[in-house]
Symmetry: C2
């Protein structure tokens, strides 16, 4: 019989409304699988392992209510980090990795689960490669996907995307109702997250197939943005109605490759070299105001689009929970892999497969050209039909005192 | 027996998530009261009456499902306007008022219901005063309150405020979870609507009494804003934790009476002479970044706070519906009045009373000094306990295809 070992789980990267559902899935799987004794939570991801800040989770979550609350709590309950590990063959590697593997040894860790996006898969890939280099094979490294951006390779979509897309579609429908009340000419520009991929912004067009209203245009980073065509588009929309509503990705760029919001950039970069963008919609607001002289408003959906756990997609939350459980079961025999969704249609369903984490760490899954209109100013119905199943179903949230109840350590 | 007449209802001013619940209440009351034959809806408020754009509502809403959907639909279903009527004794008065009263005559209107805020009550007051001046007494003019700002005089609170406050408290709790995941020093500044009164911003502090988290500071327009004290407040918060979260009203001003966001103002004024403010949080973001050199983010809750009908307060929606019905019943004997909430506590309840619309049109009900801390950088628990009953209860929304279903004409 296989000897049981302990496990550790961490969360990393930007918050989502579903990352804790995946944590709940890992905890639930670990407590049921039979080959894990204690499941530890590492605070602030790999940082918590380096600093020995962990908590045993079994007892806390033997209470089913706590597990249920965790599933409806947004943002990483264990905290997150943006730490980038050095290359496994770099000079300072042994110092950092030594600490991590000492932790694994002292806590008798056999399974490491890391819930995160692109950058977190980079961490899993490096740990896995360092272990291989050192001939350490008694720890299995499993990546568990998470990102509202839906741009991870290897998986048909990502845990957290469905809820973010549902929130965006819902909010967009409300903004469309709001802006339609006046008869005065006005343009409303809604900025949605997405540096490199337009999946979230595409969701803003969902009301077109779901209800009786739709934004006039949707501009994604996958299509080159041209200001003159943009003005021309607005002119055409004004021929139909006085209230023009537009969704733009924060990451739209001109033919020179520069971000539209670049002039307003803070110039600050994070540990992974990403520049913080700001003001794409604001830049366009000023340009439209100057060109048309009409009322213009920009709305940045900002943080709520990634943490609005009051508008969860039941499909997303159940899949996010499921991928966490699948991670545990796959960890028995595999390492250096990320758990992926494999989507089936007619009827819609997903199952869980694995993909080498090396192949995932640095790729980006963009919105395919066939999902964008020829003019590059909208998404196709096919795109929206593809997204639709991911936002379906509602979670019956637990409220307390008028607001949703959250879990916290 | 009293002769039945027709009625017309219009909506005016900025959208809320509850203004259609009040419309539903007026329609429901009109269809049941026995003294109204046809209830007409005027598109775009008084503008629709001037242009004879109206719709009979009885048949559409004899369908109970339509009435229920209307209650969960945000923003004025009939459309809105920001038209300011001339003074009843001005030179061009007869031209404009003549058209309106011709409409009343041709449609046999005996009851005029106008759902709106301050500026809409100005319209009701003028119509009422013009009618009196001309000795017209067969039309009754009734104002029905609406504003997320909660700053109308004469009423203990306003229809729409409870839902906006619930959305703000919920979103604030989520932003607090989101910003807490990292260990790096950061300041998040959340800007909330409220030019003159801080009721909405006060709601951002609700998580303090409702859950385990709270913003560090809350700055309202009622307290003078001082940048040096603000920096000092942030320093003190950093002593406790790395993630500082602050809520500010768009309308906060310095001791010179200037808006903090004034430098970033668009300079555009609406028909009522209000200047559009923008960038209060953005201005503070830049100031904090310069002073502390840390990561700073500003989040403007923007349009969603006034149209987020996916997070309705059941208390607010039932009261908003009730005030619409009360308007109809009071219209039998009264004119030139607004229907007001009169609040009772222990246990909480409201009943409906009337107040002369003249007294309401131009006043502003501010957050009382006793609800703001001595330092002027937060609200008291007493303030939060006052707001709490208004956000209680959830509406079991009808969803279709993954997003809430709305009514539209």
């Amino acid at each position: 019989m296989k000897r049981t070992k302990n496990a550790v789980v961490g969360q990393s990267g930007g918050p989502t409304a579903a990352i804790n559902a995946t944590l709940a899935g890992v905890i639930s799987g670990a407590m049921e699988c039979g080959f894990i004794d204690t499941i530890y939570g590492a605070f602030n991801g790999i940082q918590g392992i380096l600093e020995d800040r962990t908590v045993p989770l079994n007892q806390i979550f033997s209470d089913k209510d706590a597990l249920m609350l965790l599933k409806q709590t947004p943002a990483a309950a264990l905290g997150s980090c943006r730490k980038k590990l050095p290359l496994p063959d770099s000079d300072d590697a042994d110092d950092v990795y030594g600490k991590i593997f000492d932790f694994f040894k002292s806590k008798e860790i056999g399974y490491f689960f890391y819930i995160g996006g692109n950058d977190s898969m980079d961490t899993v890939a490096k740990l896995s490669s360092y272990a291989e280099k050192k001939g350490i094979c008694d720890v299995h490294f499993i990546g568990v996907p998470k990102t509202i951006d839906c741009d991870l390779c290897g998986t048909s979509h990502t845990p957290g995307y469905g809820s973010a897309a549902k929130y965006i579609a819902t909010t967009m429908q409300e903004i469309l109702r709001d802006t339609a009340v006046y008869t005065v000419k006005a343009v409303t520009i809604v900025e949605i997250m997405g540096r490199d991929a337009g999946w979230l912004t595409a969701a803003a067009a969902l009301p077109r197939i779901l209800s009786s209203t739709a934004p006039d245009y949707v501009y994604l980073p996958e299509a080159i943005f041209d200001t003159e065509s943009f003005f021309h588009d607005i002119e055409k929309a004004f021929e139909k109605h006085p209230n023009v509503v537009i969704a733009v990705s924060e990451g739209i760029r001109g033919s020179d490759g520069k971000y539209v919001g670049e002039s307003a950039q803070s110039g600050v970069s994070d540990a992974f070299g990403h520049r913080y963008l700001q003001g794409t919609a604001k830049s366009l607001e000023l340009a439209v105001k100057e060109h048309f002289g009409c009322k213009v408003r920009s709305v940045e959906l900002n943080l709520p689009q990634r943490c609005a756990a009051h508008m969860l997609s039941a499909t997303d939350i159940e899949e996010s929970f499921g991928v966490g459980r699948a991670a545990v079961y796959h960890s028995a025999e595999e390492s250096g892999v990320m758990i992926c969704y494999r989507r089936h249609d007619l009827p819609y369903s997903v199952d869980f497969v694995t993909s080498p984490v090396m192949d995932i760490a640095n790729g980006i899954r963009k919105v395919p050209a066939g999902f964008i209109t020829k003019e590059g100013n909208n998404v196709t119905d096919e795109c929206l039909e593809y997204i639709k199943p991911l936002i379906l179903g509602e979670i019956d949230l637990v409220f307390e005192n008028g607001i949703p109840k959250h879990f916290s350590f």
